[in-house]
Symmetry: C2
Subunit: 155 residues, 2 copies
DNA sequence: TAAACATGGTTGACATCTCATCGAACTGCG
DNA sequence: CGCAGTTCGATGAGATGTCAACCATGTTTA
């Protein structure tokens, strides 16, 4: 109690508000587009993208959860559903009896490859087309730095 | 069919990926923090912020939905729940027999005022502290421009 | 080695969101 | 007026996400 709050300056206030609105609108629009035009939800898409980035398309639940900033239970439920649709399989981990891998299947790769062009087009139309290369560099810098900080303070 | 896709350049690819990861991590973290420390979910918070921005804390469902990029049914469900907790009330619209207003209550204002310092502190620690004023200006510019474009293309 | 603790993932109950559909009220046009 | 089309919000069913246990395995410590 009695803590003094470091309130936001008008500039900070303004920037943060704008950024939040960008977030709300851009992600709302984008995930509805993806969902409507492919048979993947935004969540499916995020999982599959992560798996294609990783050797053999195989990753531990834990690591995937950390990368996406998901609860482990959400991961568990979601992977079970995706496995049911044949997009991924669950695989036991020989080194650690508790652990398990998520592995992307051929169908999973096919699904994301089918969705990709659409997704790219949407990203362009909704976002990239309205941003200059210089701005994009600034944005990338900010993003990397903040993500690094967030990862450090795993708390 | 046969459409050629404008794929992303490596720079675009990189920037977009970083931005997406920022989104995933920052919002994941932030909404868990808000939820944990106040009795408001991120969704509640967004609604209340919008209502405090608007004259008399009163806004049409439709307008609120548009501002947050929510489905109208989500709005309906969510407002019903918030009304149940006394944060807002539903009010008939005299001009349009179908329509209705959402109005923030005293309890709603109290709730968001209680949550605000905490939220501000989190926003600082997780984001603002790692971004320079110049970068912040660029970010605000980008955000405003893209939001404007998104609003124009209501499709 | 055995007891305590930590970790990785699962489960079930419940909250929340989406989708399709509805009914009531407005709008436009013959 | 009278009908067709549209808009606003509500509703219910099913998909998805969260929270709080839980179990099985690993790890530490005495």
């Amino acid at each position: 109690m009695g803590e003094t709050v470091r309130w936001l300056t008008p500039e900070e206030q303004h920037a943060w508000r704008s950024f939040v609105r960008l977030h709300e609108k851009l992600w709302g629009r984008l995930s509805r587009l993806i969902q409507a035009e492919s048979k993947l939800s935004a969540a499916d898409f995020a999982v599959l993208v992560n798996l294609t980035d990783v050797p053999e398309g195989r990753q531990r639940y834990q690591d995937l959860a950390r990368a996406l900033e998901w609860e482990k239970s959400r991961m568990s439920h979601h992977i079970a559903r995706m496995a049911g649709r044949g997009l991924v399989v669950r695989e036991e981990c020989p080194d650690d009896g508790r652990g398990a891998f998520v592995v992307i299947t051929e169908a999973g790769r096919a699904a994301i490859e089918a969705a990709a062009p659409l997704h790219v087009e949407a990203v362009r139309e909704l976002f990239l087309d309205h941003v200059t290369p210089a701005e994009l560099r600034v944005l990338a810098d900010i993003s990397e730095r903040v993500v690094r900080k967030l990862d450090e303070s795993v708390s």
